[in-house]
Symmetry: C2
Subunit: 106 residues, 2 copies
DNA sequence: CCCTCAATTGGCAATATGGCCAAATCGCCA
DNA sequence: TGGCGATTTGGCCATATTGCCAATTGAGGG
């Protein structure tokens, strides 16, 4: 695998890794409905504020979200047009997996 | 976040995590061209056979690939129709990120 | 049967990730 | 300016991931 390919794949992997966590997927789905402040996300997720903040920082560093400070609150929004395609595909695969596991058990 | 949502998101996260590694992305791209035996993948990747094998096992457990033993070789193929959509989206985001980083540097 | 090649598995060490607490920042308002 | 609420950051520990080596399994060919 040459260096250029590796670079490209590493960049892609970083983006996928950023999405590859239940809490961060939840955040992305939530933001798909519109911008949210950290405190609103924290409330829905039910984890420590610092934990949520770190997940958001990770999403931001992967370029998936933008933040904007307004007053004492910080609002996050999706930077991504095609995320829903991602998630639909994951949903499809997940469904197939369930079906397959049922077949296995038979 | 209720238990049902968490289950769904965990399943999705597992799929994304399986894709979130340069070597595994490489494998997926390679398999998008057709089935390959482990030794062919190993050669192109340039890592230890056992390493490649473990990546393949992970992809399989996530339901992204199927394997079939023929003689002494094992052939893997993609189980996924929509993977190319995934990768195109990642590509788009990656490109945007590069653009943005250039702007930042300005 | 024995040897070899293909692949998987187990084990281990290095590194990365996730989540909580505590401390530091930042805006705002009295 | 002092204090408060919102958020981020640093530190720490538990756990997960990665990649190599060594050992094991499996199929075929002398």
């Amino acid at each position: 695998m040459d260096a250029k390919t590796l670079n490209r794949l590493q960049a892609h992997a970083q983006i996928l890794k950023a999405l590859a966590h239940p809490t961060r997927l939840f955040i992305v789905e939530e933001l798909a409905h519109g911008e949210r402040c950290v405190c609103a996300l924290r409330e829905r997720i039910g984890a420590d504020m610092s934990t949520v903040s770190k997940h958001l920082a990770l999403l931001k560093s992967a370029g998936l979200v933008d933040d904007e400070k307004r007053g004492s609150q910080v609002f996050y929004r999706l930077r991504l047009c095609c995320v829903s395609g991602f998630l639909d595909c994951a949903e499809t695969v997940a469904r197939e997996n369930v079906t397959r596991q049922l077949e296995m058990a038979r």
